[in-house]
């Protein structure tokens, strides 16, 4: 990250992501449409379901196929598992140490072993859902276009339910714990973008909505959003065509869908000090805890009413077309679009991960944050900027000191 300061004013903030460019969109061309879920899930080890589901939805959309009923419920259940494990990891091992003044989770665990143990156990509950329904935790193998290769019985899901009863209580305790953390006084006005569903807190279905009035079907995504390659970063910057930066992820979902949370979640959020809206990105840790509670409750609800489907998947036949999929990865909306020919061969692909959609808003946050703390020595400034980036839980924030900060003062 480079910060240019002149005459005591921040002139520029540039975040350079040195992650090597991924060529997934290119090497998907020529592959069979059925391979897209398993190939794209390799984009992310912590949120493979987001890619599996986005690819499945997009291909089903191209083929005119709907996956409903218990198969759809199973998809939502495994996605709950992903939210639980990803959020628990971030809250306890990546973000909480910042607020408690520890360099890392390892340092924090010396004084707060029970806390870290709770986080690890919560994470395992999420992982167990992925392993049971998806076949394994990392890059699950049981999901396919049209549904699954094999579906569990009610009896198979029973052990998960037992773990989830504990997890609901642990998640509630997590919300209360995060509500006690000391947060910097930092608020900005954002344009939040997330899915919006008629009745559910959005995970895998809905229209695209924003806090500035956007309300579009998923196929309209590329008419409203675009990516640009900025010179200083390997990652593409996303923006709303008409307005610029936007904010995806738990904070966006929460601000746009508070009314869709369960009564228990809404109540615990209020007790933890956040209302129906929250514009302090540092309090995203509370929101992640609330979403973890939601995911645990929702997973229990789905298991409670689950009936094993007659078939693990719906029939699919290739045909030419273009399909669109967009689901809520733990970090925000993850968009897929594919064009396939009459044999089902992928001719073209576009994938927009959530973290790259937040690049612009992260830079803007950093600019605003650095402006307010311009007098800090560079090492303290770097540490606080790392914390500010961790609000977004991007897939670069795990190293204790991942940020190289260069401050050019004139």
């Amino acid at each position: 990250m480079t910060v240019k300061i002149k005459d005591g004013q921040v002139k520029d903030v540039q975040l350079r992501i040195y992650e090597p460019p991924r060529f997934f969109e290119a090497f998907l061309r020529g592959r069979d449409f059925r391979e897209a879920p398993d190939i794209t899930s390799r984009i992310c080890g912590i949120c493979p379901i987001a890619y599996l589901m986005g690819a499945c939805h997009a291909m089903e959309s191209a083929l005119g196929v709907k996956v409903e009923g218990p198969l759809r419920d199973l998809r939502r259940l495994i996605y709950c598992g992903e939210w639980i494990e990803s959020h628990a990891l971030h809250v306890y091992l990546l973000h909480a140490p910042d607020f408690l003044g520890y360099e890392s989770a390892i340092h924090m665990s010396k004084d707060h072993a029970d806390l870290v143990a709770q986080g690890l156990k919560l994470k395992k509950v999420g992982n167990d859902i992925l392993a049971l329904i998806g076949g394994r935790e990392i890059h699950p193998v049981n999901l396919r276009v049209g549904g699954f290769y094999k579906v569990p019985s009610r009896r198979d899901l029973a052990p998960l339910a037992e773990n989830l009863k504990w997890a609901v209580e642990a998640a509630e305790a997590t919300v209360r714990f995060t509500g006690t953390l000391p947060f910097p006084d930092f608020q900005r006005t954002y344009e939040y973008v997330s899915l919006r569903h008629p009745t559910e807190y959005p995970i895998e279905e809905g229209r695209l909505a924003s806090s500035q009035g956007l309300d579009i079907a998923i196929p309209e995504y590329e008419r409203n959003f675009e990516e640009e390659h900025v010179q200083h970063s390997n990652a593409l910057h996303s923006k709303l065509k008409e307005r610029g930066s936007y904010f995806v992820g738990p904070s966006a979902r929460y601000n746009l869908n508070f009314d869709r949370l369960t009564p228990r979640c809404r109540e615990e959020a209020k007790k933890a000090g956040i209302g129906a809206t929250c514009n302090n990105p540092f309090q995203s840790i509370v929101i992640r805890a609330v979403e973890t509670l939601y995911a645990c409750e929702e997973a229990l609800r789905i298991i409670g009413q689950y009936e094993m489907p007659d078939s693990p998947s719906v029939p699919i036949e290739p045909k030419a077309g273009t399909g669109f999929g967009c689901t809520e990865a733990p970090r925000g909306i993850c968009y897929h679009r594919y064009r396939i020919d009459e044999k089902g061969t992928i001719a073209d692909a576009k994938i927009v991960p959530p973290t790259s959609q937040n690049q612009k808003v992260i830079e803007e946050d950093l600019r605003s944050f650095v402006t307010r703390h311009i007098e800090l020595p560079d090492d303290k400034l770097r540490w606080q900027c790392e914390q500010a980036i961790r609000n977004y839980d991007p897939c670069i924030s795990c190293a204790t000191h991942f940020l190289t900060l260069t401050v050019e003062r004139d």
Binding site: I46, L89, L93, I106, S109, A113, V116, A117, K124, R136
Partner: protein, 135 residues
Amino acid sequence: MENDGDGADLLESWNRAKPVILIDAVKSGAEAGTLHRIEAHLSPLPNPAFLSSSHLLGVAEAVELARSMNRLPPVLLVYGIEGKNFEFGGGLSPEVNRSVDSVTDRLVREIREIPGEENGGAPASGFIRADADSR
């Protein structure tokens, strides 16, 4: 048991285990196929040698987390095999393949020498030691 690579799961997995033998790939700069044997219940793992990912706890981090939480098993033997090629695709290099065969034999002998629970899991004096550069 096989672990998917998420170190955080190790602490849950070896929750009730007494002796644990952990096998992983290593990148320390040593010659490909080199076998490293570390008694991790006694000393820390060299962190940069054990690869980690952007969002998962690596083996070394997981072991140190367990140590600070007093959740290490009484005996934790870590076998690291020095890798040659960490690019995507492909299989094991011949050097690593030979080391895998060698460590398998060694492990079978070592497992047979691990004392039972009645001895509290303490290493026996006849433990086979692998030199750092042996294969």
